[in-house]
Structures are given as C-alpha cells and as structure tokens.
C-alpha cells in the first residue's frame, strides 16, 4: 500500500527525463499551452517565495521585516546575523547543529544498513515464518506508534537516556518503511543466479549481502538514506519531549529563538531558519533527481 520501487531501466531514471518520455506518449500526451507555463510559474513562485523571503530577511537588519514596501532582494547583513546567531547563548545553535548532523547521519547509514539486511532476508532467503514476517513489517507501517510517546519517554528515563542524543537515535535505527522498500527493490533488482554464483564461490550469507546485494541496492539506498536524514533532521515532537534546551537539535534551537524574548528579532530567527534549511537544500540539489524518479516510480506500484 505504500511506495514501492522498481529497478531503474539501467540508469535511465537519473539522467534524462526527455528520453524517458519519448517512448511513452507519441499520441496521448497533450501539448503545453502558454497557460500551462503560467500555471506552473505561479505554482513555482508560491513554492519558492517563503524560502526566498527567508533569505532576504536573514541577510538584513532586524527592522527589515517591517519595512514598507517590503524588501525583495537580499541585503549584506547575513554574516553579521550568523555571528549573532551562534553567539546567542539561549539557542545553543552550534550544539544543535552538531547534534542534528550527527544523529541524522548515523540514522541514515543505520537505517539503510539494517533495512537492507532485513529486506534482503525477506526477499531472497528462505526460512520458516518468512511470509508472516513480511506481512508483519507492512502492518507495523500502518500503526501510529508515535502515540506511545509517554511510555517511550518513561523508558528513556529508565535507560538513563533522557536529555542525551542516544534517545533520538537508538529507537529509530531501522524502520518498517525502509525494510519494505528494500525488500521490494531486492525482489526486482537482484537475480537469484547472482546469489547462487556467490554461494558457489563459498561466500557466507553475510558476505553475499555485503559484496553482492548491498552494491546492487545502491540506487534505493541513496534515496532511503536521504529520506531518513531528512526525517530525522526535521524531527520535532520527540526531540522536544526528550531533549533539553541545553542539548538541543537544530529544530529545538530554532524553537528556542521563537519562544524567547528574541522572537521579535526576525532577522535572527530567519538566519536560524536558513542554517536549519541549508543542509537539506544542498542534499536536495545533489540528489533531488533521483528522489523524484523514486517517488514517481514508487507511486505507480502502490
């Protein structure tokens, strides 16, 4: 019921949208009219404007947000605002950035690793209870476990993890969504003969996973890693519950600015927003095409 993956027809997905279209719609596809482009431009303007506004105000002084007519171009104050941001003692921005970068990176790798391990087993190995386990994974995806947040916090207290970033890492080191995604991709992208050949060469099961399966899963792994990084970077409820302002994530640091007396200082808050958004934007521009390919390929199969 959720997004699934199909293996890319050999590199096609990433590189070219136009060749991908050519075989499909010689007759059925309608031509674009000027109205099409006007509509798309409006949508794009709406999508991009809040981000642009964020950069504009982040690069000006604290009175800029109230200026009339409003500024529409960036100013020269961005570095000065950055200095103020990192010097702000209540926000703990530096620590927040480190915590977010660390936890998101660890989780991206760990979710890819454990999900592909389980996905491989569910797709390609034969063992008792395999089908039940595969169904179980799908069911877990439909359960809103976030509603267990109160006992989860109590559990963190018993483990002594409250206030520590261990608490925002360990519980999320593998996801049902990831396992499901990787299983689908394994089924379609990895021929049995390949595994058999490796087995004949005397490879252990883990060795097969590591040297044969994992490299073949790379396209799906990149997207899962990106989505995991993004989700963790954006995590708010759980971080707010279990961490403290003295050891925040970047989202909590922003919230701290928003809550405190600085909340009328929009250039400071917007600079914080820029710093919190920039890593995601960079990742998006590097990997966005793959992500689009994946979202769209997945949608058809659902």
């Amino acid at each position: 019921m959720t997004t699934t993956l199909t293996p890319p027809p050999a590199q096609r997905a990433g590189r070219a949208a136009k060749p991908a279209k050519a075989p499909k719609g010689e007759t059925g596809v309608r031509e674009a009219t000027p109205l099409t482009y006007i509509g798309l431009s409006l949508a794009l303007l709406f999508s991009a404007f809040p981000l642009w506004w964020m950069f504009v105000i982040a690069s000006r002084d604290s009175a800029a947000a109230a200026a009339r007519p409003p500024f529409l171009l960036p100013g020269g104050n961005f570095l000065a605002n950055m200095e103020r941001l990192f010097a702000n003692s209540s926000a703990n921005f530096t620590l927040g950035l480190i915590n977010s970068a660390l936890s998101s990176t660890i989780l991206a790798f760990s979710v890819v690793f454990f999900s592909s391990l389980a996905g491989f087993a569910l797709a390609k190995l034969k063992f008792r209870g395999r089908d039940a386990a595969a169904v179980g994974v799908v069911i877990t995806m439909a359960v809103p476990v976030q509603m267990g947040i109160i006992p989860l916090l109590m559990l963190m207290g018993w483990l002594g993890w409250r206030g520590d970033i261990t608490a925002i890492i360990v519980p999320f080191m593998v996801s049902g969504f990831g396992v499901f995604l990787m299983r689908q991709y394994c089924v379609q992208a990895i021929p049995d003969e390949l595994l058999e050949a490796a087995r004949m060469d005397g490879c252990s099961t883990f060795r097969i996973y590591w040297s044969v399966v994992l490299p073949a899963l790379r396209p799906a792994a990149v997207v899962l890693g990106l989505l995991t990084f993004m989700t963790q970077w954006n995590e708010f409820v759980w971080a707010l519950a279990v961490l403290t302002p003295s050891n925040p994530t970047v989202q909590l640091a922003i919230n701290q600015l928003n809550e405190s007396a600085f909340s009328r200082d929009f250039s400071l808050m917007f600079t914080g927003s820029v710093v919190a958004t920039l890593p995601l934007l960079i990742l998006f521009f590097v990997l966005g095409r793959q992500l689009i390919g994946r979202i769209m390929e997945g949608a058809i199969k659902s």
């Binding site: 794009l44 999508s47 991009a48 981000l51």
Partner: protein
C-alpha cells in the same frame, strides 16, 4: 532455490561423504572442511533470523511496548513526580469525555485536516494534470514543486508565522491593497486554522502532485483515444477516466494525509511561539499539543496517556473509514 539447500563444501575440494577413495589431503584439511560444513549449515539456518531481528527487536521495544503500555498508564493515576499512584479504572477516560479542552482540540484537528486536505489534493490533481502535458524542462518544474517538501518544517513555520503577522505580515500587507483590514490570524479559530492549513499545503501539495503525475502517466493512452473518438470532452475524460484510474493512488494519499494530519504538531506549535496551549482560548491547539501539554508540561502521564490512546484509536478508525468510503464512492461509478 538450490542456493539455500547447498551443503557448502569448498568448490575445489572433494565431497567429504564421497566414496572411499579419499585423496591424501591430510587430517587438517579434513577437519577444516568439516568445520566449514558446520558453519555453512549454521549460516543458512540462522542468518535470515539474525538479519531480520534488529527490526523486530527495535519495533517491539521502542514501538509496540510503549504503545501498549500507554493503555496501562491511562488506567492509573500516574504523574511524573509521584509515579504510579494506583489503579483508577476508566476515570481518565471519563475525565476526557467531560473535558472541553479535549473536544476543542479534536475539533481543531479535524477542522484543520478538512480545510487543508481537500484543497491540497484537488490542487495536486490539477498540478499533476498540468505537469502531464509535454512541457519543456520537465525536471526543473518537478524539482521546483518538490522543493517545499524537502525543507525544514520548523524553519518554514517560522517564516509563515511572520508572513501571517497581524502588523508586519506580508499577507495582511497584500490584503490591504484590496481594502481588507489587517486580519489577526493567530487570534481567531478559523483564521488560525487557515494559516496552519496553508503551511501544511505549501509543504505537501507538490509531493502529492508528483505521485498523481506518476499514476497519470501509467494510465493507458488508448483509453483517452477511444474516449475522444466517442466525443468525450477533456473535462469528461478527466472525471471519467483519470480520476477512476487514479483511485488506488488517491486512497493512498488520503490515508497518508489522515495519519499525518491527525498528529499535527510542529506547525501549530511554532505558529504559537512554541507554546502548547494554542493561543489564549486554545483556538489552534491540536490533540497532539494537548497530549504534550498534559503529559510533559503538567506532568500528568495518566491523563495524557488516555488522550494518546484515544487519538490512536481515532487514527485507526479514521483510516479504515477513509478506505471504505473512498472505495465505495469510486466503486459506484
């Protein structure tokens, strides 16, 4: 699958069980082979379970256990400082039914869900239809529309909170040109719903449009050709072919939106300056914010758990009803 049944002697070596003509390889080699065989047997039997165990272990400890324990806590008078103060039966649920704040939060959550989701999905369908034409630089437009999906939620909520400011917000500034007096977005129930719904839609419309676009491209083209030969208008084709063919995808996005929207938290919290109460009269407090307020601000775990479990049941029910309704409505066509 033979690869799983394979005994596993090294390919170059002879079978240990081979007929008496054992080559003179020496005892060392033989022991090594036997150990190898035993390892392979173990490897084949146990590895699959080792591979899937991290997921099921973590889910059991950090997902399922807290969820079920929520029910237990909700049946007790349980606070942060005092711990478990004893079994109280359904007292917390009785309190919940009589608690105006709960009904208000539920009303807000459902209201924001409704005014956010309906326009969002319609707009996404429209955008997908536009994107499905033969356009130049298709990837550029797609990336542009997906941009909001990949930004920091809290950061963007801050920007929108400023845009919706009463005095200095650009939105009121823009409305001023049409002679509309400044709106106190945060102050009113429906105005704050609208502001929050805009934040949610800004983030998710493009994402859903891409999903619909993919589904539209998978619709067989000859269906449209046949329809246009029969003289069906574009509009009619859209409603009679595209929408029914997209049914599974639409149901999927509705369910995902339901699960996400019922837990709406970040946007309204940031919009209210980090507070959990949702404004002076709770006009934009969602159920998730109420859970957070009761459990972690007032340290009332028992009551917080009762709300959390109720929301859990509501999400599951809502998901089921959605699925049923969507398939019923479309199935009737």
């Amino acid at each position: 699958m033979t690869l799983l049944r394979r005994g596993g002697a090294p390919p170059s070596g002879p079978e240990p069980s081979g007929p008496g003509s054992r080559p003179p390889v020496g005892a060392d080699q033989e022991r090594l082979e036997r150990r190898q065989t035993r390892f392979n047997h173990f490897d084949l039997k146990v590895s699959p379970y080792l591979f899937i165990s991290p997921f099921f272990l973590l889910f059991a400890v950090f997902g399922l256990f807290p969820l079920l324990y929520t029910v237990w806590v909700s049946l007790h008078d349980w606070t942060l400082l005092g711990g478990n103060q004893g079994f109280v039966g359904i007292a917390n649920y009785v309190k919940l039914v009589q608690d105006g704040k709960f009904w208000n939060a539920l009303y807000n959550t459902l209201g924001i869900f409704a005014i956010a989701t309906v326009p969002q999905l319609l707009l996404a369908l429209l955008l997908a239809d536009t994107l499905s034409r033969r356009i130049r630089a298709a990837n550029f437009w797609r990336m542009g529309l997906l941009l909001p999906y990949l930004t920091s939620v809290a950061a963007v909520a801050i920007v929108f909170s400023q845009l919706f400011g009463t005095q200095f917000g650009l939105i009121n500034y823009g409305l001023g040109f049409f002679g509309i007096d400044p709106v106190n977005w945060k102050g009113g129930t429906y105005t704050s719903w609208a502001a929050i719904a805009v934040m949610v839609d800004w983030r998710w419309t493009g994402y859903n449009a891409l999903i619909y676009l993919a589904a539209m491209q998978a619709v067989p083209k000859d269906l449209y050709e046949a329809a246009s030969i029969d003289g069906a208008s574009r509009m009619r084709q859209f409603w009679q072919i595209t929408i029914p063919m997209l049914r599974p995808t639409i149901i999927f996005t509705v369910i995902i939106s339901t699960i996400g929207q019922m837990q709406l938290f970040t946007e309204p919290v940031i919009f209210n300056g980090g507070g959990m109460s949702g404004g002076t009269s709770g006009q934009s407090q969602t159920v998730m914010m109420l859970i957070f307020e009761e459990a972690f601000r007032f340290n009332n775990y028992g009551y917080g758990s009762a709300i959390a479990w109720t929301l859990f049941v509501l999400i599951v029910l809502f998901g089921l009803v959605n699925t049923l309704l969507s398939s019923r409505i479309k199935g009737a066509q």
